[in-house]
């Protein structure tokens, strides 16, 4: 579905990714991992044509993403990023309507999707509330609902579990797994290694110095692979992968 060839991303003088070549297929959940500032969000933005790469090509269904009109692209790729500003008094319902406007399906289908999204993220009672009145967790759920109401084959999610409490984090992960099984391609940035282990099929690992590795989640999510990148002691593998906080923290204290 998405083919990335020799992609090079730089922000100013800093090289984020020196060269990335990979193929992402429908039905996959691809997790992008790495330290802060490594270029994870930037990678998503480059796919979305929101960021211009130095070099390289991102193609969607064999056509360069840059060749798509903004409208067509928005029907294929849904992006969830930081929380939108709330000063202007938009309500939850209005915000979701804006997302739905882009999808052109029949009204009943849209209405159904709208209701099921509200239900899944427990937003029914908040429908008429202004975004400014909500907590950041509630606003994050609205953002996830905004992706759900559209029917895009590709989801780009930038830290979807941020601000969420544990239960909603679990719901979000479940959602991602399910939608991937329905045939969507989900490219997501995650900080939590266990969450990545729970949903990812493929991992793209950015080391923050321009290097990038792509591989199956099972092989990538090991202490040996990840410790040098994150600079924190880890133990376990897969879903049991955990940072070890005790030793160093106690010493310094």
């Amino acid at each position: 579905m998405i083919a990335i060839q020799n992609l090079r991303l730089c922000r100013g003088k800093k090289e984020l990714i020196s060269s990335l070549t990979t193929q992402l297929e429908a039905g996959q959940v691809v997790a992008v991992l790495g330290p802060n500032g490594a270029g994870k969000s930037t990678l998503l933005q480059a796919v979305m044509v929101m960021f211009k790469p130095e070099h390289g090509l991102v193609s969607l269904n064999d056509a360069s993403v840059a060749a798509y009109s903004k409208q067509d692209l928005s029907r294929l790729i849904a992006w969830q990023g930081d929380l939108p500003p709330a000063e202007f008094g938009l309500t939850v319902g209005q915000r979701l309507n804006l997302a739905m406007e882009v999808a052109h399906s029949e009204p009943q289908v849209m209405q159904q999707r709208f209701q099921s999204a509200l239900a899944y993220l427990e937003l029914e009672s908040l429908q008429t509330r202004s975004l400014a009145e909500l907590s950041s967790g509630e606003r994050q759920r609205v953002e996830i609902a905004a992706i759900m109401v559209r029917d895009n084959p590709i989801w780009l999610m930038d830290e979807p579990t941020a601000h969420l409490d544990l239960r909603h984090q679990a719901d979000c992960l479940k959602l991602m797994k399910k939608e991937a099984q329905n045939g969507r391609l989900i490219l997501t940035v995650l900080h939590d290694l266990q969450q990545a282990a729970a949903v990812a099929d493929i991992v793209i690992l950015l080391d923050g110095k321009g290097g990038v590795e792509v591989g199956e989640a099972a092989t990538m999510l090991t202490a040996q692979r990840l410790e040098p990148v994150f600079g924190v002691k880890l133990k376990g593998i897969g879903r049991d992968l955990m940072p070890i906080y005790s030793g160093e923290i106690d010493e310094e204290a």
Binding site: L73, G81, L90, Q94, R95, L98
Partner: protein, 316 residues
Amino acid sequence: MLLDKRSITMGIALFGVVLLVLFVALGMGEHWINPLGALSAMEKMILWDIRLPRLLTAFAVGGMLALAGAWFQVLLGNPLAEPYVLGVAGSAAVGAVSGMMLFPDSVVVTSVGAFIGAWVGIAAVLAFSHLGSTRLLLAGVVLAAFWGAVLMLLMALLPERGLMLAYAWMMGDLSHSSLPIWLLLLMWSLALGCGVFLSASLDKLLLGERHAQALGVNVQSLRKTLLLLASAVTAIAVTAAGTIGFVGLVVPHLMRLMFGSLHKVVLIASAVGGGVLLMIADTAARTAISPAELPVGVLTAMIGVPVFLVLLLRKR
């Protein structure tokens, strides 16, 4: 275009409000004249040749200022934005006062100067249009300060009479319009039409540029269009009536408090609401200390602020 029952009723209600205000304002003046009564020739002249053109000018200018204010607020992503924030009014004032200095006895030169000055200011701002909202706002505020300084310089050089005239122009005046009224009303309609046409994209822009782009909006071209449109409308309003403040800042917010934030409604309501507010303010300005007049900008604030504050407190 939503032509459902609700929209139609709202549209009729708005139209009704405008007509009512127009009717009452027409009658008010140094002497009350009943617009529907039997009128002498003199009274007819006063109503239709003096008061009506002035009210229509007020309506068009007020509506345009409110539209421009709403556009600047979404363009810059800042609720404190208003039509003069990027310096267009400042450069227009510089143009008007320069005209006054170069041709001290010409009456028409202030409007010509204002128009030219406004476009110089717009050109200056367009140079920064590719920057993000915050940077654009910063550039605009700094430019506005620059024009303000130039204006002060010019006013320091003016003789006493010129100073009085400069202030009079800047405080705004609806008693005449340098632009024909049909042109103003046409501009008002065009502006509103453009606004409604863009309203879906403007709503998405409320989510921020990245989200808007992710939803299919061509953000760069929308921002340029919006900047040009809002500035042009401001330039026309300022050329016709001087710098009348407050309408562009508060009316859009007032409308959002009353009707919600979606642009189709906000823009229509602002175009009408701004016009109505200015009609009321101008009527008060010309009757409060009759036969003399107050500057209309004073009245827009005095009337608009209490209404706004009450609504603000109620909503919390």
